[in-house]
């Protein structure tokens, strides 16, 4: 599929294959590529990215732990987790997928795809806004509401008040 070393030789023998007078591999590496012949990253770099990814996973897990200070405002946690996820995604794309060291063709592929993805998400936003304002009668009839959750929580709380463990306490109460 890609015997890149022979491509390299061909280009070296011919001079320019693509405009700047470099073989695909040379362009791929770029002038400021300070790594050795062996590859892009080098072990230590991959290891650093790996540690960073693990650290970031722990960070997003932090929102779940009792030490997270904004328990009452879930939006803070959501924004935080999305920021963490985007950072992780960026690390994976840049280092593991070698995009950091690729030539400019990377923009040709990634920018349109990213724009399409973003527009797609934006186009869905009105749905979130309108979803609960225009509800069919059918849906309103069967839709779960926040009040249902409250009802269940009350039922659970009533039972807990009664005798603490899952006994038939509350049901008995209704029997009489």
């Amino acid at each position: 599929m890609s015997d890149s070393s022979s491509d390299h030789h061909a280009a070296a023998a011919h001079g320019p294959v693509t405009s700047p007078g470099a073989s695909p591999e040379d362009i791929g590496h770029g002038p400021d590529d300070h790594h050795g012949e062996g590859g892009h990253g080098g072990l230590w770099q991959y290891l650093a990215v790996f540690v960073a990814l693990c650290f970031l996973t722990t960070m997003s897990f932090l929102t779940y732990s009792p030490y997270w200070p904004w328990r009452d405002e879930p939006q803070v946690g959501w924004a935080f987790m999305m920021a963490v996820s985007c950072t992780k995604a960026l690390l994976v794309v840049l280092f593991f997928m070698h995009v950091l060291w690729e030539a400019n063709w990377k923009y040709v592929l990634t920018i349109p795809a990213a724009m399409m993805a973003i527009f797609l998400a934006i186009m869905l936003i009105p749905d979130v806004g309108f979803r609960n304002r225009m509800v069919s009668q059918e849906r309103a009839l069967h839709m779960a509401r926040g009040s249902d959750l409250k009802l269940l929580e009350q039922a659970a709380a009533g039972e807990a008040d009664h005798d603490g463990h899952h006994d038939a306490g509350h049901v008995e109460h209704h029997d009489h």
Binding site: M1, S2, D3, S4, S5, S6, H9, A10, A13, H14, V17, T18, P24, I27, G39, G41, Y46, L47, V49, F50, L53, T57, S60, F61, W78, M81, V84, S85, A89, V93, F96, M97, E102, A103, W105, V108, A113, M116, A117, A121, L124, D127, R131, N132, H142, A144, R145, D148, L149, L152, A155, A156, E159, H165, H166, D167, A168, H170, V171, H174
Partner: protein, 313 residues
Amino acid sequence: MNASAASLGHDDHGHHGPVLQYQPGLPLSRGKLIMWLFLSTEIMFFAALLGSYVVLRFGAAVWPKPHHVHLSEPIGALNTFVLICSSVTVVLALEAARVNKRSLAKLWMLATLLLGSLFLGIKGYEYSAKFSHGIYPAAPRGMIYERPDLYYGSAVRARLGEPAIIERMKELFTAPEAALRPEEVAGRRSLKQVRDMLQSPDQQAFDLAVVADQIMPLPGDSAEGHGHGGGLNDTFPWLQLPMVIPGGNMWASTYFLLTGFHAIHVIVGLIVFAILLLYDLGPKRAGMIENAGLYWHFVDLVWIFLFPLLYLF
């Protein structure tokens, strides 16, 4: 393509005149270009899925908390870790192949395959935990009801009226108390009351929220049991009574759709790795490994977004 390019290149070392030369439109190998094009379509595919999830999630009046649907955040985090590890091993396999350390490359590739399988195994365990709690994406197996209303009550009554269940209940009610565990004794009493309440609703105070709570209590935020609240469905697994999880059906649909599509991608990646393991992983195969790796990193990438969205939001 490269074979011909290579031969042209080597032919040109002196003796021939101008030779037609392959000029790539983009300075990368065809396989890699196609992989990237494929990945850009995949970006849009998962953007659509995740986007609709977000719409449904935040447009919903109620959405179950992770504990309500037996989601375990630590397991999700463990799976994230496993997938990140596998991303690292596939990169290391590529690096080893580039410097012609064939056996090392094979070892890393094998590690990737095993880690990917581990991910699938954990996912399968999670799925089976959902199934054992009656959480399926759709009826008739799905037993999630949105609200404790009359539809729910009649569904519970129908289940309690099934001959097999009647038989098991008869066994349970006649068993001597000494033969039962303490929670079974308590559960037996509560089951009897639920049954009586549903079978003669006109004679008793009739609160289906209480029935739902007896069958499967929804744990609060501080629940330590991760959804094992000790309801009837937990005490007597054979009962499998319908349960009330507000917003649970939409949750199940999106959860199984998103993780299912992701799991399909993982399976495809594992097949690719298994095929790669048959080859001699030297520098000649570096391109293949790189392309497989690109795909695998993308699968990792999707999970990086799926994990917080599904488990922590």
